[in-house]
């Protein structure tokens, strides 16, 4: 009976329940932003990119460093801080350059190796990038303000935060752009072909190496957006790389190969964990949302092992 008391509570205070749901959706959008980067790379290369969270950190560090006018490595003020829009463009270019280097140094020597080898290489990449970011930009907390409005407003009894609404809007726009990119552009179709079968894609003349550069660059751009949103809400610091942990249950639930799956998965995980934490958490001293997200994802796995939107793999003997 005690377990059902929260349900009565939801019915008694519907406004608060709606606020919890909205809070969950907003948190879910933020998780989706991170999960998208994983999906893009997995979709195009079947590599689970362990370094996606660190990519977001590296992008945010670079952005805030440029905006502050910090000289890399020396960590002194150059006297030339860039405006936010210019810093975002330069950081985007840095992420493209990084994608080129990753393809050249990490991925190219490992073509045709097992996916687990590529996965291990991304673990190494995560540590290298984290250390490199520390050397370049230092490890102190940096405030990031790219001009996203803050504050809150009320709709009836329900309080909403302006920043959260922006996050949701930006995520929706990104999904739209990525959907168009994958479905309607020649490059997007090439990416999907590589994802389906490397050998077959190569045989019809799709340059695998270029495709990998493109997909890592796109994932780097997604990481930049995730880094901006998370960095704006918590400051840019090394714990930012841990946001990857928030994306894992989203990927399990949504599937590793689906852009819509990353979004829907994020929303389900966000809402599920917030409802669990707010209503059932107090019964067990709280802090259940982190592990509850995995429980939720695993329950879905029981019914759809490939995730909600993942591709079902059929292998013939």
């Amino acid at each position: 009976m005690v377990l059902f008391a929260p349900i009565l509570d939801m019915v008694d205070s519907p406004e608060f329940f709606i606020e919890v749901i909205i809070g969950g959706l907003v948190a879910g959008v933020m998780y989706s932003l991170v999960a998208l980067g994983f999906v893009l790379i997995f979709k195009a290369s079947s590599v689970f990119n362990f370094s996606q969270g660190v990519l977001a950190l590296f992008a945010a560090l670079t952005l805030v460093g440029l905006m502050d006018g910090t000289v890399p490595i020396l960590l002194i003020d150059s006297g030339f801080p860039l405006p936010a829009w210019a810093a975002i463009i330069v950081t985007g270019l840095v992420m493209v350059g990084l994608a080129f280097l990753i393809e050249r140094i990490v991925l190219r020597p490992l073509v045709n190796q097992d996916p687990i080898i590529l996965f291990m290489s991304t673990i190494g990449l995560a540590f290298v990038l984290e250390g490199f970011g520390d050397i370049l930009w230092g490890s102190e907390v940096k405030a990031l303000d790219v001009g996203i409005p803050t504050g809150n407003f009320l709709i009836g009894e329900i309080q909403l935060q302006v920043f959260d609404m922006w996050a949701a809007g930006i995520a929706a726009f990104m999904v739209l752009v990525l959907a168009v990119f994958f479905q309607k552009t020649r490059l997007g179709r090439a990416l999907r072909a590589v994802a389906d079968d490397h050998q077959a894609a190569l045989s019809v003349g799709i340059p695998l190496r270029n495709i990998w550069i493109v997909v890592w660059a796109v994932a780097g751009f997604v990481a930049l957006v995730a880094g901006i949103m998370w960095g704006s809400s918590s400051g840019v610091q090394f714990s930012l790389s841990l946001i990857a942990l928030k994306a894992l249950p989203v990927l399990i639930l949504g599937g590793f190969t689906s852009v819509p799956g990353a979004i829907v998965g994020g929303l389900i995980i966000g809402v599920g964990e917030k409802v669990a934490e707010v209503y059932w958490g107090p019964m067990v001293n709280g802090a259940i949302e982190n592990w509850f997200a995995y429980v939720l994802a695993l329950v879905f796995l029981l019914f759809r092992p490939q995730g909600l939107f993942g591709d079902k793999i059929i292998e013939r003997v």
Binding site: E140, K142, T150, S234, F238, L240, K274, A287
Partner: protein, 437 residues
Amino acid sequence: MTLKKLTFGLGAAAMMASVTAVDVAVAADQLFIPGLVYRTGAYAPNGVPFANGFKDYITLINERDGGVNGVKLVYEECETGYNTKVGVECYEKMKSKNPVVVIPNSTGITYQLIPKTAVDKIPLLTIGYGRTSAAVGSVFPWVFNYPATYWSQATAVIRYIGNQAGGMDKLKGQKIAHIYHNSAYGKEANPTLKVLAKKYGFKLTLLAVDHPGQEQKATWLQIRRKKPNWIFMSGWGVMNQVAIKEAAANNFPMDHFIGNWWSGSENDVVPAGMGANGYKSATFHPAGSDTKMHADMRKHVYAKGLGAGKESRIGEVLYLRGMINHALVVEAISRAQKKYSVKVPNGDQMRWSFENLTMKDADWKRLGLTGFPNIDVTCNDHEGAKGVLFQQWDAKNKKWNSVSDWVPVMRDIVRPMMEADAAKYAKENNITPRNCS
């Protein structure tokens, strides 16, 4: 042998040589202090200024004074990443060098080292953190946690809130929420707060935030619903910054939001910008960089290019705490040298010194610090808590201002709790408490 293999072999040999070179040699006539620090990982932003304070103070003593009474200090850092297991490995690696003290720099590591240091006879100094009941010297002779513990701090926070509300009797019916890091550290204040809630009749809400605390929507939804009059926070790292930003976004009155002393550094408030204006925190020392110790640091360390970090950051709270730690260690070494007429005191001699380390205004002044709390420890009281100070963030001028006198801790409440907990520990670990009467 191919060229490739030869290159690989040479590379591996060079790496091994470099690892050996990092290991600092300690001569018999030198004083060794290990530094369990975290300059990497999720908590690095807080770990770095602390580590810089540690290192710079050692450099200051060696450069300005030529060591402690002429005996050079040798300092070696070991990176823990704020990871308990790695911290214990660091301890095991460095204990053979006869350290005069071990500063674990983490409550989790402290819990693991308490039984080990008692066997190895190395004093364990945990200033403002660690196991609260280790203040009972009869059970924990090797642990020192002055100038105040988490439990004492919690009583001072409630007294401060009571004072702000117009008297302790006004606490009845008030709602106070404790937002805490879901770890051994974050939970330390909870038992005390529960006792105080019962005694003073306020409604206590406990809200845990999981590591690292980057996302706190659920916590702040509950704050919105419970509408506490006051929030007390025991956070660390990014958890603090997010909480302060969330409080500002939810229009919570910042002067009713009080962090503990690990939630009151510049790192915690600067990312929130003007939103953090008015936020308060407990502290066990005044903030600021206008001290003689800072002036000496600039002259003898930074002017010579020997500083571990940026000179512009030596006024920060966490840097100052790193310095205070080693200032007390150096003071204890000096007194042990005099008492036993030795150059390098052993563990027993250092333990005596820490247990008799009274610090009055004149002693602090001699070290170059003013306004610091008197420390007066005894055989059975390794905390010697007197009071806690409160500071408030001025976001415009980016500085902490003291907003209280020393608020007395409720020793009558926490001391029996400490003794009960220590007695339980002694029973579980077959320890016969020594006689301190």
